[in-house]
């Protein structure tokens, strides 16, 4: 049995859940599939989930804590006898799955790009060493793994399944006092096909108006470097890099970004990389497809003009 822990927003399944279902179907030689919906409003979400999976469990445990998610997933594992558990990667998924893997005494494969099985083991590949190395891993069953977002085609609905409610005793220990939502405007950074990122070399928070204008003209999301976020010029939600977001757009335009390895960890898998920097020796040029060595304050207005002309 293979269990998919389905990520959702309280109404609908998220894209990550549909990717995880696709991963589960690829392993169907290991047995039948089941899903579990954990959190709030699970009965509604389970109706949608049942269009994809023959068995769907629900665990109504309230707002997220890693303890609750691991406990609920473990209840579903015990109920279904699952030997493989699949969840969506991301900070939350990669926290509670570690707890679950420990409970199951299972091998844990984190943030996998793709996965397969030989009947006894799960084989997966993933990035390591700050996104610089690709490694193939394997672990004998039981295995818990997370699927890196945007790596797998979305599953299509298939048949209609049954829904079963699990009773889970909710562990205490963490009390949520306040949720601080990320301010979002424009295109989502992790889903954007074009990203325009500004670095410290822009000189001031005001200079980001130009970054936003170029992003607007290209239908792009705005990104920022750690130095810019640390300086308080831009919100943390825009940070690209080791401690921020990982992006893989069709084109990543880095304006006045030097390209420290910690920044590269968040963008080095982009299809095309463009750099504008006055320092021809900046590390970003080593991984750039296209670049301009020049003053960003002169180049950026010209880029905006050219981009707008293109869209007309």
């Amino acid at each position: 049995m293979i269990l998919v822990v389905l990520e959702h927003d309280g109404q609908r399944l998220r894209k990550g859940a549909l990717e995880a279902i696709s991963r589960a179907r690829q392993l169907s030689s290991l047995g039948p599939l089941a899903g579990v919906v954990i959190g709030e409003n699970t009965a509604t979400v389970a109706q949608e989930a049942a269009q994809y999976l023959p068995t769907v469990y629900t665990a109504e445990v309230g707002p997220y804590t890693p303890e609750k998610w691991a406990e609920a997933a473990y209840a579903a594992v015990q109920k279904s006898g699952a030997r493989v558990v699949i969840a969506t990667g991301g900070r939350q998924g990669r926290t509670w799955t570690a707890r679950l893997a420990y409970k199951m005494k299972a091998g844990l494969l984190e943030d996998t790009l793709e996965t397969s099985t030989d009947g006894q083991r799960i084989l997966g590949s993933r990035y390591s060493f700050l996104n610089r190395v690709t490694e193939r891993q394997q672990a004998p069953l039981p295995v818990v793994f997370t699927a890196k977002p945007n790596t797998t085609p979305l599953a299509e609905p298939e048949g209609s399944g049954t829904v079963e409610t699990l009773e889970v005793s909710v562990p205490a220990g963490v009390e949520v006092l306040e949720r601080l939502s990320e301010q979002k405007k424009g295109v989502s950074l992790t889903e954007a096909t074009v990203v325009v990122t500004g670095g410290r070399g822009l000189g001031s928070p005001e200079a980001f108006a130009g970054v936003e204008e170029l992003a607007g003209a290209l239908g792009a999301a705005v990104g920022a470097t750690r130095a810019v976020v640390d300086a308080g010029w831009r919100p943390y939600g825009e940070q690209v890099g080791q401690t921020g977001k990982t992006v893989q757009p069709n084109v990543y335009i880095a304006l006045a970004v030097s390209g420290a390895v910690q920044h590269q960890a968040g963008m080095n898998k982009s299809k095309y990389i463009v750099a504008v920097n006055k320092d021809a020796e900046a590390p970003i040029f080593k991984i750039a497809d296209y670049g301009i060595v020049g003053d960003v304050h002169q180049v950026l207005p010209a880029l905006i003009e050219a981009a707008k002309k293109l869209k007309d």
Binding site: Y64, T65, P66, R91, Q92, G93, A98, R99, Y102, K103, K105, A106, G107, L108, L109, E110, D111, Y127, F129, R132, V133, T134, E135, R136, Q137, Q138, A139, P171, A172, V174, E175, L177, E178, R179, L180, S181, T193, V194, L218, D230, Y236, G237, T243, G244, V251, V261, Q262, A265, K269, I287, D289, Y290, I292, G294, D295, Q298, V299, A306, A307, L310
Partner: protein
């Protein structure tokens, strides 16, 4: 009170990696205390400075980890326990091995890095918490103790952040913004040489095997234009992106 940081030694992100026989070869690479563990060490020292008690580092890894442990001691940690094991161990196995030592130490809290700069793993803190049956808070940006029984903590989620109250003992993992780590001072480095560092050899076998590692760097076009005439360069760049790369 007792505060523990669990630390690891990793390659300096700036150093060049090479592959030998299908595995990353770390010979000749500069090794450092993992930056995210450094935040954990700094926070543990600050908690001790504010609330008193003891600060300890615990590490699980090969002999070479000693250098990173000495760095933590030089920053101000009181003493260290080094569980010595060579080779790759997955985070679940590591947590099993660390749990015994941590349980015996009976700390107020344990801090470790949010993500490891070698295995890119985010699992160790949560796996330790599970091994000890304690709560975990990952990606911590702010922590404040409320007496000895609770902590009020701000931490990052997938999107946005939240403030939670956690019953102690608990495990926390670090995130950027938590603090600005101090540099070890010369007297600190001298003192660190005399601080207690207990070594305990352990044997464990990994549940996960690394089969092969490769460095797949995309071949980049490296078409760099001169920006002396910024208008011409910008128009040429936009043309290339539109007509050649076809991405805008």
């Amino acid at each position: 009170m007792k505060f523990i940081a669990v630390i690891r030694q990793v390659p300096d992100g700036e150093s060049r990696l090479k592959i030998e026989g299908g595995k990353v070869d770390l010979s000749g690479v500069t090794m450092i205390l993992d930056q995210m563990d450094e935040w954990a060490v700094e926070e543990v020292i600050r908690l001790q400075e504010k609330h008193g008690g003891e600060s300890v580092v615990v590490a699980l890894g090969p002999e070479r980890f000693e250098e990173a442990i000495r760095t933590a001691l030089a920053m101000g940690i009181d003493r260290a326990v080094h569980l010595v094991a060579e080779g790759y161990l997955d985070p679940i196995t590591q947590a099993e091995a660390l749990a015994e030592t941590l349980r015996a130490e009976a700390p107020t809290l344990v801090f470790t890095g949010g993500q490891q700069a070698d295995w890119d793993s985010q699992a160790l803190g949560a796996a330790i918490a599970e091994a000890l049956s304690w709560p975990v808070v990952s990606w911590t940006t702010q922590i404040e103790l409320e007496g000895e029984s609770h902590a009020k903590v701000k931490h990052d989620l997938d999107e946005g952040a939240e403030v939670v109250r956690v019953a102690l003992p608990a495990v926390f993992t670090s995130q950027q913004g938590l603090n600005e780590p101090r540099y070890p001072t010369l007297p600190g480095i001298m003192k660190a040489k005399r601080k207690e560092l207990k070594k305990v050899p352990i044997s464990a076998s990994s549940k996960v095997a690394i089969v092969e590692q490769t460095i797949q760097e995309r071949t980049r076009l490296n078409k760099v234009l001169d920006g002396k005439d910024p208008v011409a360069a910008a128009h040429e760049l936009v043309r290339l992106l539109h007509e050649e790369a076809k991405v805008i």
